[in-house]
Amino acid sequence: MNPTVILIPILLPVLAGALMLLRPIENLRRRNVFVETVTLVNTAITLWILTHAPQGTLYLFSLGEKLPMTLRIDGMATFFGCIVSCLWPLASLYAFEYMRHEERVNTFMAFYTITYGVTLGVAFAGNIVTMYLFYEMLTMVTLPLVMHTMTPQAKKATRDYLYYMIGGTAFAFIGMVFYVIYSTDLEFVYGGAIDLSRVGQYTNVLYLIYVLSFFGFGVKAAVFPFHSWLPEASVAPTPVTALLHAVAVVKSGVFAIMRFTYYCIGPELLSGSWAQTVVLIFVMATIVHASTMGVREAHFKRRLAYSTVSNLSYVLLGVVMMSPPGLFAGLAHMLFHAIMKISGFFCVGAVMHQTGKNYVYELDGLGRRMPLTFTALLISGLSLSGLPLFAGFVSKWEIARSLFTNGSALASWGVIVLIYSALMTAIYMLTVIVRGFFPARDVDMGELKAYGDPSWQMILPLAVFSVVTVMFGVWATPILEKLWTVAQGLF
């Protein structure tokens, strides 16, 4: 198959979004139909392309000497592309209902659709330059989404978001330039293509560059100490928080780190180096810090945002083991976390949308009135805490296994960190759910009569995610086998 088709899923949503900006569709129904059609068609095309996996690299153009723009589909691209394209139509469906009473919805939906294309661009990028470009674009197109409500809080959050992102990409830029100059092959190759003869004795510089770019890309992945934009950005409408700040944007950061570690610098080179120790310590600190803050946070959505921070670092904990099992565990958790966290956020969104309540202590007794929503939240919460029979357990088990395979003392500490964090997760998720179903104080149930489960557009995504969470928890072998081939670079 001609690799040119890779361009279609990237361009289609971008063009559709641009069209919506130029010619706003004011009719709510027509707009929803238009957006959902574009999203579904794009998802269909993406999945078709991914299953037929066009061989070869699509060369687009060159920004200058040694700066070619290429697109290619390999195992990692398929993996990330699949996650994004499967989640997007459901999230759009949810967004229609959630945004029903908001203002400037046309602009919102336009940028939301554009983001779809750009995220796929990050996934399908064939070399680090292309990835970097799409990565930057992702920051830019999501800015209006974070700012959407235009409250002072939202503006502040957007400003911080921008500062953090620009600061981060500056670090990442250093890594990119270094790699462009010191690599034998600019394209992504499993195992990396650093020209060791030219690096020579300056391996410490290489490590330093790695650490810098790790934190650079790590800003999107919310690695401590660059994490605080993520809880702040939860002022954005829930479809944004759920899809972008639990999946698309943050996972792009993780994805970029995976690409840079396993496809640029190379895990063999980094394994056992001080660079690995440094990033490992920061990743562990992030997990401990974020899960502790999650318990302390009373704002429900921010609490989940902290949970995202810690879970992203679970993925990175696997990734920085610098071994195929580590990457495998990271990929598995990336996938499962995407599903269960988007479900969690959608539940929060449903509660906010139906009742306007934001804080954990306001949720007493709501589970009785919104049983479907809270059941989905229960499944998501149990899965996040890593309980057996749910997806989260499978991936956490794999992460722990990769930590033990590594065998160093620091990695064993990682297991303790995992357990601590699992405990904290259980606390911050279960306290909410227990409150919802079994109110601690006497609640006037008559007062809650007005509330109920949301419409099917919100419930359908929740139902799908819950079923999938349990399904993967009980039977994940086919998908894990696939991920294992990806993690070994065979696909």
Partner: protein
């Protein structure tokens, strides 16, 4: 007779099940208990709300408990163990009163924390032994135990982590806190299950640990034994002090479980000669399940009718109710270890296992590395007596309950009359259930060779136990002696402590006051402050500090090297003097380097001062002329007044 089932790749690691003697026995007991409690629930829950939820989670707990007892590897055990904890939580908090929710919260917290620590232990064990299958662990762990000290230490750490979770469920000191809280508040059928079988799933895990991971390890056995002794003593003391019928039974569970744990410890200590300990442990598990089923359901009948638990309030309820009295009596005699009832058999075996160890250590064959022979002899002599004392305490608190509910009259004669008139207190179905569960107990006790010995034969292979070299004669004088010592001790405790110290004078008759100091509670004294105040404060402080460090760094640079420049202001035009003066000062500061930085523009500064002083002067002028005008007006007014006046 063995079947096994492997579900490959389910839940990541794959689940495996096996049916053999021990598992069959406990699967049978589980099913029997569920059958009985479900039948009992029919009347007990007749007026409860949300019955559907109760029965659904009861069924889910059943599935999970069966899963635990049939599991063939520790991973499967763990999966179902967690499921059981969460499902039973919903049964425990069924009535959703504040006190219930609090107790349920403690139950859930202990279960979750215990589960996670166990998981940690499983990780460690899997890493070290390479397998979690119960059939392979023994071969994998034996070389590790006899290997070098480091390996041994790691295995012990893994073992303690796993023990944490299972021990918490088994009510082992100091993780027993949920037990006396959750049992009284749960519906009686759920209490019976909690105490009778769910705690046994914790014991199942401990047995797997002792038999497969630390087989015949003296050190491990010794530690477990000490935990067991602490649990059985504390449980007994708490039960004697308790004035709540279900709480007493719950504390009694803790005490009996302590005995079982003690037996598990003796298995390790006795090594190859642990036949008595193995059989005693298994049989006491079986007996205790049956006993608590009968006792909690009998207590359930009282609660169902009166909705009260306090001994002073239910006092005298059981008079003139022969069926209830007999059922409770059967349970009481069984648990107190009275000969001809089932508890006596297993307690005797456990006691004999301690005696056996004493004998062996006297012969010099079995000493512990960390204890000299004399110390060991002394210590285990003490443990033997503590064991008998616990038996005595069991006699004492069961006598207290029985006499209070079934013999004494209520302090208020009117209430007593009312109680006596309640002839119909349960449906025939409930009565039948009670009678069956209670009738099992003396049958097991009177025909030990036909019943209990066979059960023990069935189960002991799981624990790698051998049949004892000679059959135990349960009713020989030597064995009866231990039982009688306990009974005498129990009588003394009841007469001297319960009647003299723990009963106070009420208005007319003696009542049962709660003499246990309110403050003396591990939960409120240590765990809650530690987990809810100290840990969050310390961790929270660290997190805040780290957060501040990250922000503070940026703030620091913003204030120092990266300070924003002020926008250059346009110089005002008409300030001639400040302009030149300022230029001079600018020059001077640039030249001589005084002032904090060279970038301050003195022209701006002086011009701003100047405009400020101009503004002030203008205001002053305005106010002076205004007051002058007012003065003038005042003058005119007074002149006109003078002229007119």
């Amino acid at each position: 007779m063995e079947w096994s089932l492997v579900l490959k790749d389910v839940c990541g690691m794959g689940l495996s099940f096996r049916v053999d003697g021990f598992r069959l026995l406990f699967a049978g007991i589980t099913s029997y208990m569920w059958l009985m409690t479900s039948l009992f629930s029919k009347e007990y829950m007749a007026h409860a709300r949300r019955k559907g939820r109760y029965y659904f989670f009861l069924a889910l707990t059943y599935i999970a408990t069966m899963g635990v007892f049939l599991s063939d590897d520790l991973f499967t055990t763990f999966v179902f163990f967690e499921m059981m904890s969460l499902a039973s939580y919903v049964c425990v908090i069924h009535d959703e009163k504040p006190g219930t929710l609090r107790a349920g919260g403690v139950y859930l917290a202990v279960a979750v924390i215990g589960g996670l620590v166990s998981l940690m232990g499983l990780f460690l064990l899997y890493d070290q032994a390479g397998t979690l299958a119960l059939g392979q662990l023994r071969e994998a762990c034996l070389p590790l135990l006899s290997g070098d000290a480091g390996e041994r230490k790691r295995l012990f750490i893994a073992g303690f982590c796993i023990l944490f979770g299972f021990g918490a469920k088994a009510g082992m000191f100091p993780l027993h806190i949920w037990l006396p809280m959750a049992h009284p508040v749960a519906p009686a059928p759920a209490s019976a299950l909690l105490s009778g079988i769910i705690t046994k799933s914790g014991i199942f895990g401990m047995l797997a640990l002792s038999a497969d991971i630390f087989p015949h390890d003296g050190m491990w056995g010794f530690i477990i034994c000490l935990f067991g002794v602490a649990s059985m003593l504390l449980g007994g003391v708490l039960a004697i002090f308790s004035v709540d019928i279900k709480r007493s039974l719950a504390c009694s569970s803790m005490s009996q479980l302590g005995m079982i744990i003690c037996g598990i410890g003796m298995q390790g200590l006795l090594g190859d000669e642990n036949a008595l300990a193995v059989r005693g442990t298994v049989l006491h598990m079986v007996n205790h399940s049956n006993l608590k089923l009968a006792l909690f359901m009998a207590a359930g009948v009282i609660v169902m009718n009166l909705h009260k638990l306090n001994l002073n309030e239910i006092r005298g309820y059981g008079r003139k109710k022969p069926l209830l009295k007999l059922c409770f009596l059967s349970g009481a005699l069984g648990i107190a270890g009275i000969p001809l009832f089932n508890g006596y058999i297993s307690k005797t075996l456990l006691h004999e296992s301690i005696v056996e160890f004493l004998k062996l250590s006297h012969e010099g064959g079995w000493t512990l590395a960390f204890l000299s022979q004399n110390q060991a002899a002394l210590l285990f002599r003490l443990i033997e007596w503590l064991f008998l004392l616990t038996g005595g305490m069991t006699v004492a608190y069961m006598t207290k309950l029985f006499i209070c509910v079934f013999v004494e009259k209520n302090a208020d004669p009117k209430v007593q009359e009312e109680y006596d008139s309640m002839g119909h207190y349960c449906t025939p179905l409930t009565a039948a259930v009670l009678a069956i569960t209670a009738a099992v107990l003396p049958v097991l006790g009177m025909l030990p060779y036909a019943t209990q010995d066979r059960l023990a034969d069935m189960a002991q292979t799981f624990l790698h136990g051998l049949s004892p070299s000679h059959a135990v004669n349960y009713f020989s004088l030597v064995n009866l002696k231990g039982g009688f010592i306990s009974i005498v001790l129990g009588g003394l405790i009841y007469l001297l402590i319960v009647r003299k110290l723990l009963m106070g004078r009420g208005e007319e008759t003696e009542i049962y006051p709660n003499r246990w100091p309110e403050k003396l509670d591990l939960l409120t004294l240590i765990y809650e402050p530690l987990l809810l105040k100290i840990f969050p404060a310390v961790f929270g402080f660290c997190c805040r500090a780290l957060d501040f460090a990250a922000d503070g760094l940026i703030l620091f640079f913003r204030r120092t090297t990266h300070r924003q420049l002020r926008e250059p202001e346009e110089l005002p035009a008409d300030y001639v003097l400040p302009y030149y003066l300022g230029r001079g000062l600018n020059y001077a500061s640039a030249r001589f380097g005084c002032g904090k930085d060279g970038k301050r523009d003195y022209r701006q500064l002086l011009a701003r001062r100047r405009s400020l002083s101009r503004e002030a002067w203008r205001m002053f002028q305005a106010s002076a002329s205004f007051s002058l005008m007012m003065f003038g007006i005042g003058m005119i007014v007074s002149v006109i007044y003078l002229i007119v006046g």
